[in-house]
């Protein structure tokens, strides 16, 4: 009964490839997020979706394209992968509203060679 799940857990790929990370939540939340955690462990917001609509896009290159087929899913597609994209990507979900806690998935470690 995992609350927020992500696949795959690990992703190793070559520069220039296109890859996707999938996220699903079974908490009944209406808002989902993608965060990037770099090698220095800083967590930074990338995207926020509320009811399948994009709310925040924090100056992320347009090689990154999130897609939300429904409220329970938010996938991240990355085109033309670069070395600097190597990081851990976390999906999270919450209810929309003031200071509602966000629940995080286990993360996907992306390594670009």
């Amino acid at each position: 009964d995992t609350a927020v799940s992500q696949t795959p857990k690990y992703l190793v790929t070559q520069m220039g490839n296109d890859k996707s990370i999938k996220c699903e939540q079974n908490l009944g939340h209406d808002t989902m997020y993608w965060y990037k955690q770099d090698s220095k462990k800083f967590l930074k917001i990338m995207f926020s979706y509320n009811n399948k609509e994009l709310i925040i896009n924090e100056t992320v290159p347009n090689r990154f394209s999130p897609k939300s087929p429904d409220k329970a899913h938010l996938n991240l597609h990355i085109n033309s992968l670069e070395l600097g994209d190597s990081a851990v990507y976390f999906c999270a979900s919450s209810l929309w509203g003031i200071a509602n806690e966000q629940f995080f998935g286990p993360g996907t470690r992306l390594t670009v060679l």
Partner: protein, 112 residues
């Protein structure tokens, strides 16, 4: 721009040795300050939300407090299983949507 700074970056304690972690923030219109715990290879796990200065919350050996400029996470008589990275985050005013701005974390190591 919202900023969150955590100190120290790393903290080594002996089992039973109480201490505090600091989270300093500057934000326009604080909606909430969050504390998370992150174990290696896992996603952040929610601990507390604080909404206004003067508020305190407790959970087992952890107690979080909030002022207008900073938050403290007090750890009383820590055990080795409290070893983790503790993350602080703020949620700002309505223009920011539900976005969280995180600090760099404090890596806590508790030795038996």
């Amino acid at each position: 721009e919202d900023q969150v700074t955590q100190s120290p970056e790393a903290l080594r304690l002996q089992e039973g040795e109480s201490s505090s972690l600091n989270c300093s923030y500057t934000v326009s219109g604080l909606r909430g300050l969050f504390w998370y715990r992150q174990d290696p290879g896992k996603g952040p796990e929610f601990l507390f939300t604080l909404y206004s200065a003067g508020e305190e919350k407790e959970k087992e050996r952890l107690k979080a407090t909030l002022t207008k400029k900073e938050s403290f996470l007090h750890i009383t008589a820590p055990k080795p299983e409290d070893s983790a990275t503790y993350l602080c985050a703020v949620q700002a005013g309505p223009e920011a949507g539900n976005m969280l701005t995180f600090g760099g974390g404090t890596r806590l190591m508790v030795k038996p």
